[in-house]
Symmetry: C2
Subunit: 235 residues, 2 copies
DNA sequence: AATATTAATATTGTATACAAAATTGCTGCT
DNA sequence: AGCAGCAATTTTGTATACAATATTAATATT
């Protein structure tokens, strides 16, 4: 809702509109304001953002390529519901990449960057205190992404961004209420290791951190759209 | 050309057409039949594939998101010319991911998979012997992708696929003629390590393998479109 | 003769209109 | 009353038409 207002009131005509709308939808999904399974009708979206369906389709295509939404032919778009396998693969990927990046980050880390990260961690804690769960979830993802960016490798940073977005979906489906992904406490401790340039310890810490998040999930291979019924009733 | 014929003659109407066309263009880029910098006019492509511009645009969007083509506003699409920084980041990413995957691959490897990989390596050698450079380039990329798939992690396998596609572009820009990316000889030796289940040795070998490819490039930050002139003449 | 301004052309960006497909609700038949 | 077939509605898929913008060429002026 906020995003909508923003892009309508600011008189951005043309070039940046699409990017704004993309962010609005993307944020809504990452912040769990749009939950997995939610349908995203083209007409409705076009209406809300006062844009034609052509533009919305382009944006949905992009979101689909990033696996945040799923497009079923003749059925339309909906927020992706990650499978248990997806969850495992994504967290394994994060283990490999985010941990592997820690030594580089520790090497590139300067005082300014450490301060920036601390500020982010602080905002995250604040959001949690204020009960703004949605915001906290996104800030937590932002922290991990910013960390990856500090490695200096844009390609891997982009990949981590995608993984974090999808992790947010996983949390929405398999997460336990009240128990968010990251303990912001953890983030502060991680910054200390990085600041000291201790890449190896940061790596180990990140590994535990991710394992903690993953093991906090209750991954029960529950609902698939249709083949469900056959299994549920013993037919 | 072949791809075009294929999708025109087979009476695939509707759903699979787009995927076919996507592959045709994608292959043409990866195989260097479309070189970096080549313009991809929407009208021309729509004409060639006898489809409307709408469909072509969708495909170009996708290719742009995968960084195989670059879309400049009001200027259109062209095959991406990776920068030297891109090249570095991509090969660093491959080091991290592909090497990190080797232990998993070694663990999952069965006789059937080893045979399949050997067959691919053999085809690659054959293509090289026959002077079919384009085919060899793609087969080499295919080998690396298949390897990643054997790890069982789809997410990372997809990422490796993207990295390999972009690596092909890098080879087109910075590669020395006659000196292709992978020595197919290398691939066979790698399979042996994997077959023995020696993940660590495979990892080390892959690392050397990728380093060899990267160091075979002549990365000279040559041509940027416009700011060139100022630097060339000592103004 | 050189440059600046303007017009023409080519190409992309956007919206709308039409066609195809699938789901949903209704009606009639058993 | 229940099921099957059919029609109507909803929603996506595709193409075409129009508008905006950038590039190129030509002309006029200094």
């Amino acid at each position: 809702m906020q995003g909508v207002q923003q892009s309508q009131t600011t008189g951005k005509q043309g070039k940046y509109r699409h990017e704004d709308i993309y962010r609005s939808i993307s944020d809504a999904i990452i912040e769990h304001r749009l939950k997995p399974g939610a349908r995203l009708r083209e007409d409705a979206l076009a209406d809300v953002f006062s844009i034609s369906r052509t533009g919305i389709r382009k944006i949905l295509q992009r979101l689909a390529l990033e696996q945040l939404v799923t497009i079923t032919p003749h059925r339309g778009a909906s927020v992706t519901r990650p499978s248990a396998d997806d969850a495992k693969d994504i967290f394994d990927a994060r283990q490999l990449v985010e941990c592997g990046l820690m030594p580089d980050v520790a090497r590139c880390m300067r005082a300014a960057e450490a301060a920036e990260l601390r500020e982010m961690a602080s905002q995250e804690r604040q959001a949690l205190r204020d009960g703004q769960q949605s915001t906290a979830i996104r800030l937590s993802a932002d922290f991990h992404v910013r960390l990856a960016q500090l490695s200096g490798n844009e390609v891997l940073a982009d990949f981590v961004e995608r993984l974090c977005s999808r992790s947010s979906l996983i949390l929405a489906v398999y997460g336990n209420p009240g128990h968010l992904g990251c303990e912001s406490h953890d983030h502060d401790e991680l910054i200390r290791f990085l600041e000291k340039g201790d890449g190896e310890r940061a790596k180990a810490f990140m590994s535990r951190h991710l394992k903690t998040i993953e093991s906090s999930l209750s991954i029960v291979e529950d609902d698939n759209s249709t083949p469900d019924l056959r299994q549920v009733f013993g037919v």
